[in-house]
Subunit: 428 residues, 2 copies
């Protein structure tokens, strides 16, 4: 019989509690798969007295999570979160102490992934993070171990369940972003401070992780364009549908010559394609794997069981001795990808809020034409008398910067009452 | 530097040729991932003189594939196919000679999976088969290594690209099964003898593999109900759409108490759910992973690159020393699941071809009522005068055997001109 794998969990929130529960109640099944027992030997959290679903009363408790790095555990599971502070200190000191690390911390990996991966490799221990991107979907393992023979051309994903829930609800109810967000906060689907989710930052963290796995680049937020969903209106969602599209917040990474284009932005996704049908808090990823074609993965992106399940899978891999370079390639061979994506060429959805006065359409059309942006289809729909009118267009394929400069000129017009909205159309 | 992994490939058809090509042309990328080189050291195929895309002229050639088991290769890749004969002999003798085996042979695994897995474990070598189910989709790895924390309740998949292509084309063109099959054969999407594909046998082989991984049962075709798509008519496909469904050939495995229900059959899948949107030669799998919820995987199920890519991923795992029990649990702990599934309770789609004479609907409704099958909705549509009429119904949830006995009585009526058709409605 192989000796037990000794596991310490730092952070006993939703996910940490779930991991502890599975370790304490499903030991037999996990042993059958791992060939050894997985023993929970230490835990740490902020408040020892808190009532928890998992009964950890018999497990050694540390008030200071960083003390776990000095314990006799073989693996530290970091579920504290945040890119600096305790999480960073704990992971780094654990790796230096030659302990394996499993983490769900995308922010930590987005900021320090390359450094920590190198440290894991030098110390010949695992750094695993299936739970850090797309929750329960085994996309980290798929990119690291499965879709490797022909390289990856692009990865596109719905990576933030909060944003996808908000957009789904805006479509279902016709309510504004602000109203749906308020409800989502009440239901626990959005944080009290929702900025990281709705501003695209969380998606960016996850995209940095997926890009590193797919393309062998160091995780790097500075190379990304990041845009959130705060400015999406019920009108945009309705018009999208009329054009046969649905608005989704996507994380997009594409190979363009030697450069990897990385963006987080709302995009128009064609109805009846897999990404368009991803509803509510679900996440999904499309990976275009060269000649092997597109692969699509969908599942729950957050919540106790999906995320804890991903952590458990990493732990069983470690128990079986199955781990290699954290990003699938040696950390020292990861390449830097520092520059922001250049202007893209695609069709765009444009929305203008204008006064209902003569000449306004001529002015908009003129400005677009000056920038060599041509229009493929248009909807203009009146509202109540005296209210501004929405003019909505889909352009032919156009250069992003040309569209942006036309929009800047249009925004300056006295007939235009709000900042124009511009959303790229994603081809499948 | 670790020593190279020595690989011999038996069978140089589409997939074998693809594997050889990747090994010969993408060595650097694979080495980076595996930490050692993957060397192609031997090949075997029926015809040495055949022109092949992969240039294997400098690789040691064996006319007798079984001789590879006695070569100095570390891994044998079996791509010959068939559940008996050379494939079985080669895999068995390779495992006995303590060589790792990678295979895409679902028939071999469906008939001899438990025996071969036990042999691999006894000899402490790998038996890997990502390419054996759903082609390029990494579902074997996902079920074996990722979706393990909460157990699996059900696995449902579109596992045969030929059938899915035929059904997609029948819907697109309105042509009959026989006509579309003929075209598919011309295009190379269907074999000259299509029985194994269209009769459901190939789906059954793959389902046996997925069931073993998901539920820890020995692969066993005898425990399955297997039905093909030969009897599906363009009418069925049209009516399905009117009811809001699409017909797909599914492999279904479900936990029912201690028993695993395994079936291959055409089923009505609700439009706008992931399985309904799987088109043409694509494959897809929905795995319900307990509290972690449903996971959906889609990708190319056949063809050179997707399948060769799956073989390459297995080879890189072996090169990294990452392998355990072939079915994720020790072979000796796989449980037998010998009995056929009992009658299921669900709604059914029924189609009757009847003479356009008085009393026919009353007779059908009467028979169904006698068997306690109640009707949820119905379409009757006339054809040209004198031609038989189609009566189509969706039942409320009913016991399969009750519906079948009503259909048997109805089929005996002089007013019914063809065997009634019965297709279960799949809830998501």
């Amino acid at each position: 019989m192989n000796k037990p794998l000794r596991i310490a969990v730092a952070g006993l929130g939703t996910v940490g509690g779930g991991v502890a529960s599975v370790l304490l109640t499903r030991g037999k099944e996990l042993e059958e798969r791992a060939g050894r027992t997985l023993d929970l030997v230490g835990v740490s959290a902020r408040d020892k007295s808190k009532n928890r679903a998992a009964n950890v009363s018999k497990i050694a408790w540390e008030n200071d999570a960083c003390a776990l790095a000095k314990s006799d555990a073989d693996v530290i599971v970091e579920l504290i979160g945040g890119e600096e502070g305790i999480a960073y200190d704990l992971v780094k000191s654990a790796l230096l102490a030659k302990k394996h690390v499993v983490t769900a911390n995308k922010a930590l990996l987005a900021y320090h992934g390359a450094e920590l991966a190198a440290l894991a490799e030098e110390n010949n221990v695992a750094l695993k993070f299936e739970a850090a991107a797309a929750g329960g979907i085994p996309i980290v393992k798929a990119l690291r171990e499965s879709l490797i023979a022909y390289g990856i051309d692009s990865v596109r994903g719905i990576l933030n369940g909060t944003c996808n829930y908000i957009l789904t609800q805006m479509e279902a109810t016709g309510q504004s972003f602000a109203d749906v967000l308020k409800d989502a906060q009440k239901l626990g689907y959005a944080e009290a401070d929702p900025t990281l989710d709705v501003g695209g930052g969380d998606t960016a963290h996850k995209l940095a992780v997926l890009s590193a796995l797919a393309f062998g680049v160091t995780p790097n937020l500075k190379s990304m364009k990041i845009e959130g969903i705060e400015h999406i209106t019920p009108d945009d969602i309705r018009f999208a549908r009329e054009f046969g599209y649905r608005i989704k917040l996507l994380g997009l990474a594409r190979k363009r010559g030697d450069h990897i284009d990385q963006r987080v932005q709302p995009a128009m996704v064609k109805l009846a394609t897999p990404l368009a049908d991803v509803e509510g808090p679900f996440n999904a990823v499309v990976a275009n794997a060269g000649e092997a074609g597109p692969f699509f993965f969908e599942g729950r992106g957050a919540g106790e069981a999906p995320t804890a399940g991903a952590v458990i899978a990493d732990l069983v891999d470690i128990a079986r001795g199955s781990f290699g370079a954290p990003f699938g390639r040696p950390a020292k061979r990861l390449t830097r990808n520092d520059t922001q994506p250049g202007p893209r060429s695609c069709a765009f959805y444009l929305r203008f809020e204008v006064l209902d006065v003569p000449g306004v359409l001529a002015e908009i059309a003129g400005r677009l034409s000056e920038s060599e942006v041509s229009i493929e289809s248009m909807i203009q729909r009146g509202r109540a008398p005296g209210e501004p009118v929405a003019i909505v267009m889909i352009t032919h394929e156009s250069v992003e910067t040309s569209v942006a400069s036309a929009l800047k000129a249009i925004a300056a017009s006295a007939k235009v009452v709000a900042k124009p909205c511009m959303i790229p159309m994603e081809s499948r």
